[in-house]
Symmetry: C2
Subunit: 733 residues, 2 copies
């Protein structure tokens, strides 16, 4: 069975391969394919493995000696491959820990170790000279002592449950597990609710022995492992906390430290499950709801207390230099059209997976493109390879560079292709839907190293087996697979959501879940044992990201397409309508139940849980402006689709109109309450952090029950969609 | 809000209360209500508490001295209340443990303690003279040594997953957690799959610290606690293993021990999670699927091995005497129409919850009825109170009595009302749907002791808050709440499923989950602290079961009704049709996926999990015979409903036709492969054990993919339904 299948797939895929590529005509498609085959031949798993070993040898965070060595190694490589390479420097605020103390003071005493064990099985874990100990960057300084309250993942929904138990975190320390939302949301919400401190721990059910064998027996979290990470309020703005909107050059105007709005209100500290166990075990109060239970061998309780902890955190609030490596290969035809390909280089520690596994793919791509250029086949558009610094603290290197060069990028940036850590399994592409069709063509043209079918085919198979009914039905009804909209969490954010540069974020995953993320155990040994032995998916990533970059850099007509955009926006419009409908009917139903008294009868009178609170009813909103604008876009997109299929080259002006189309999705005044985020189709959620909110102005106004904002936001979003529709219409005229 | 609501509810319920009761006219309804109020006035929580304390003082299993003392205490009470009381004795096989050894022999060594800790906080746990140590009754003898395989709950679905991992239990020892199916299914299936032994443990996620605070801090399983229990193959037949179909009198013909088909094929032993931890920790192989993870602080693996255990079990295969207490109050008008009310008296250990909490309610009812009789208001029909022995080993006391008196019961038994352990919260009634309307009237007429509304109203509120959309919709569309169909697990089985005596099983629960079941910790202290402090739900149970018994014993027209039966059978017909449809489409879809090769592409090639096996496609079946029979029943039931509402008394012959209507749902040749089970609407599942299968012949033929049986079983079930339809029609003529 299997053999027949493979032959069939290869056959059908080679048939497809004869179709012209989006943006190319038949002849230029053929030469592009030859060029890509040539490109592939320069990629080498050995290169990736060697660079991974070298670059993840030492902890190399921003401001460290090892970090600078990484910068120099990468810059030297780019130079050796023929790139015009500069190191862009920014002066940024970098808090590192000076005091970290956590102790249980009642009803028993315990002092948390706050350190990770070096393991004899992994020599990297003993190279810790430049090690940043576990902490959350941009926690405020503070010393607090209070009873603990268990807040599960610390999401808004979790606090609603606590309310029903009559439990407040006011004046308490919230202990939360990692997961459920981006970590920075946990202290943000806890502070809004009146907590005076937050502890975040990795529960073994989510990320430890419950998930699978632990390091070094398996890839999951060692009992001493701690996930570091930034808790900067990135949904307000990422980048250097002192210089929002402007590049953090030495002469930039800076906010006073005490006015920086993206530093947490309350101290926050991440700990291991080994350190969390005595704290949680000492808690009392009601037993947690069943979905809140973790994997420690105890009964979890909500508190407050009797467990009482003292936590003291002090940081060095230093200014350090962030170094971005910017390597440019000028385009032969359109030097002022820039295709940017980036990955950060700084790690929380050794950073083998995050970020070096992605960086070495990028380097491999740059080396291969350098070879093509040396053979006289360099790109038509300028290609910029960027290795960003200080991503871990809050996308700082990329954000400062984007803010610094905003005007030039607004004119010249065609697209931004991002990677970060890589892994094994299935290709994941998220990004701007103007690039969805190109992304699908790319996935169709790269072979999966484990199965021999295309990475697209393998992804389809996974949806076929694991997807829900709707996703499976769509495989039949829709020629392209959807790419996911982008929230935040890596360096595409400033490009996409601040400037409106069409972006993609690419990686493989799904077959190598692990717990090394932001711990001492994210090492070469861990990566090559558990994530991508043989670096075969590193090479596959270079093929995917390399093709995306090259098609943008060589296409006579930029491979932008708008039917996918229209179709995805249509989905989001359906979603926000359904959201309002569902909230309306659920609010009504819950209010009716509250009023009828059934909660009092259904709930155990001997326990604390009470009925939920009455909520304001949800009014009806008119989504017609969105529907009308969408209708314009759908028609214009269909017309342009015919133009694109004709295969004719575009002139320079047309190409500029194409790549600046994403700018139409932004508004200079940004989203309500967070002007830095100008994109009105994709944004990180204000209360999810990394998680995307599509049509964010409309969706968050509904979710936050700010009903008076909804109609205005519908008009704004409709206006933005209308704007891009006009642009697309202009392209077909 | 609350007050208004309560006033409204009391008002509406008192309005309803003026409607005649089913089976009574206006005048007799009023006197019946007075009688029930009088009955209630004789119930006393102090009685219940005192009897509970006395009867659960010592472990009192069948064959024990304490067990005989319980029998004598109960019999004396019945006599003192004016009952004609006899002790019905049966000679039954009772295995008790002689040797219990379990040790891990590789890769490390550990000897399981197999004992439960006595706790200073609970003096009962130190009264262990007659204690049965943890074991599974009717495990075969044996000494085995083999590697362990983790089989999750050991259900058919679990073995399908193991197949996909390429793991067989052939020649291995299966380690399974309690839950997911009745315990006896675990060794039965493991043996069918070739295992040579089975270990069953209580996982703390399901029943230990994961579920809540553990004893004595809370009600859940102490780390040393072990759930005992029978593993007799009850879905084949319950009762004494040597005397199927006949009462185990001293002169009964007996099977040779070695031919007894309901003893397990392989040795099986239950253990605590404290004893399970070292065994599971020593296992290797693939990590279990995420839904299979338990609550121990380890990574769970499937095996086989390297953990290797030796298990040795030897039992005393003794004949002992089981004593049923049978207390009769003869009916004044219809002495040959018997309303039987039973609860077992034997416990695995102290048995405070199981069974004494139910038995003391029954005793309280008997005392109250005795007072009514003493006042000259005795029942019109004969009421038989039964306290069964040896329920725990396999419904032995009740089954032998039923088999022994089968012919007399066939003629005289009006209905059987069962209770077993009781708890706190919401009323649960399961049983014959001919009694559904009466059950609803009873629930409407008893007040919940915690909230002051009727137990019906409280149950409706719970469905309103926790039920799914269908259940909530039904609250509005259906005047009666559904009572659940009965599978097995208590003494109603021989009455209902062997003889076709309409039965109810009644208890309260839902607010006091605990882990004392069948452990050393099922004590007076545990029960009165965590399950029903003040015995208020014990009194409520006596009111509910007492009313059910009294309405059957006093009604001029027996309160049987058939629209509920028709409506529930209609639901089951829908379900089996949907089952066939779903299996057909799922089989087709899975087979197509297997054939298309997507599994190979979607699954991680470095791991053992492979595609499921191709299955035979499901043919189309004609359910028309069921639909036609159901149509007859619906019409006849509607007609009889009018007769019943007219409120006229029935004559003796009509009442006999009414109560023997349930016999029409049986067939003398029983279910395929298990002739003891004669009921064709309700049966315990052959592979679920306690879990009910409605329309069992049809449903199990489909589920087991025995497609050639399905049409025959449809005809049989249709014939049975047609039979009851004819009976109901005769009642209206």
């Amino acid at each position: 069975m299997r053999k027949t299948l493979l032959v069939f797939l290869l056959f059908s895929s080679s048939l497809f391969a004869q179709d012209p590529l989006l943006g190319f005509d038949t002849a230029s498609s053929a030469s592009q394919r030859e060029l890509e085959a040539e490109f592939d031949s320069h990629l080498s798993a050995e290169d990736l493995d060697e660079w991974l070993r070298i670059l993840s040898r030492e902890p190399h965070h921003v401001g460290s000696a090892a970090g600078l060595a990484v910068v120099e190694f990468v810059a030297d490589k780019f130079r050796s491959w023929g790139y015009d390479t500069e190191i862009a420097e920014y002066e940024v605020l970098f808090p590192s820990p000076r005091t970290r103390e956590l102790e249980l003071v009642a009803p028993t005493r315990f002092t948390a170790s706050l350190t990770e064990d070096s393991l004899p099985e992994d020599p990297s874990t003993s190279r810790t000279d430049d090690l940043l100990p576990p902490y959350n960057a941009f926690s405020t300084d503070g010393e607090v002592e209070a009873e603990l309250v268990f807040v599960n993942y610390g999401t808004p929904a979790d606090y609603e449950i606590l309310d029903r138990y009559g439990i407040s975190v006011e004046g308490k320390i919230a202990i939360s597990r990692y997961g459920g939302s981006w970590r920075g949301i946990k202290p943000k919400l806890a502070a809004e609710k009146g907590a005076i401190g937050t502890i975040i721990y990795s529960d073994p059910a989510d990320d430890g022995y419950g998930a699978g064998d632990t390091y070094p027996d398996g890839p999951f979290k060692h009992e001493s492992a701690v996930q570091r990470g930034s808790v900067m309020d990135m949904p307000t703005y990422p980048g250097d906390v002192l210089t929002p909107f402007v590049g953090a050059t030495s002469e930039a105007q800076r906010l006073p430290l005490e006015d920086a709005p993206t530093i947490t209100e309350i101290p926050v500290l991440p700990i291991s499950y080994r350190d969390a166990l005595p704290l949680l075990e000492a808690m009392g109060g009601e037993v947690v709801p069943s979905e809140w239970r973790g994997g420690l061998p105890i009964t979890y309780h909500l508190g407050p207390g009797p467990a009482r902890v003292r936590m003291k955190l002090e940081f060095n609030w230093d200014m350090v230099t962030a170094y971005n490596v910017i390597a440019t290969m000028e385009g032969s035809e359109y030097p002022d059209q820039w295709v940017i390909r980036g990955n950060h280089h700084d790690g929380w520690n050794h950073g083998a997976a995050d970020p070096i596994s992605g960086l070495v793919a990028l380097m491999s791509e740059a080396k291969a493109l350098g070879e093509l250029a040396a053979d006289g086949n360099g790109p038509k558009r300028t290609v910029v390879y960027a290795a960003w610094d200080s991503e871990e603290q809050g996308l700082i290197g990329s954000t400062e560079w984007v803010e610094h060069h905003a005007q030039e990028l607004d004119e010249k940036a065609v697209a931004y292709i991002n990677t970060d850590g890589n892994s094994r399994g299935f290709v994941n592409i998220g990004g701007s839907h103007v690039l969805e069709k190109m992304a699908n063509e790319v996935m169709r043209d790269v072979t999966d190293p484990q199965t021999g079918v295309s990475v697209a085919e393998r992804r389809r198979a996974r949806i076929e087996v694991n997807g829900n009914a709707a996703a499976r039905a769509e495989l039949k009804s829709r020629s392209d697979m959807r790419i996911s909209p982008l929230g935040s969490g890596s360096d595409y954010s400033p490009f996409l959501q601040h400037l409106g540069v069409a972006s993609l974020n690419i990686g493989f995953g799904g077959e190598a879940r692990d717990g090394s993320y932001h711990t001492l155990y994210d090492t070469y040994e861990h990566y090559t044992t558990f994530r991508d032995p043989g670096m075969i998916y590193g090479v596959a990533l270079a093929k995917v990201a390399g093709r995306a970059t090259m098609r943008l850099a060589y296409a006579p007509r930029l491979p932008f397409e708008f039917t996918g955009l229209a179709d995805n926006i249509a989905l989001y419009v359906d979603e926000v309508e359904e959201l309002a409908e569902d909230m309306r009917s659920q609010t009504l139903e819950t209010n009716q139940r509250i009023d009828s008294g059934v909660y009092q009868l259904a709930l155990d009178p001997t326990r604390a849980l009470v009925a939920p609170l009455h909520k304001d009813e949800v009014p009806f909103f008119s989504f017609a402006p969105l529907r009308n604008a969408l209708d314009e876009l759908e028609k214009a997109a269909a017309d342009y689709s015919d133009v694109a299929k004709s295969g004719g080259a575009a002139n320079e002006q047309q190409n500029i109109l194409l790549y600046t189309s994403e700018r139409e999705l932004t508004r200079v005044d940004g989203l309500p309450g967070r002007p830095w985020f100008t994109h009105h189709i994709y944004a990180p959620g204000f209360y999810t952090g990394y998680g995307v909110k599509t049509l964010p102005g409309v969706r968050e106004a509904i979710e936050e029950r700010q009903y008076d904002l909804v109609s205005d936001e519908i008009f704004v979003a409709a206006d933005v969609i209308s704007g891009v529709a006009s642009r697309v219409r202009a392209l077909s005229d």
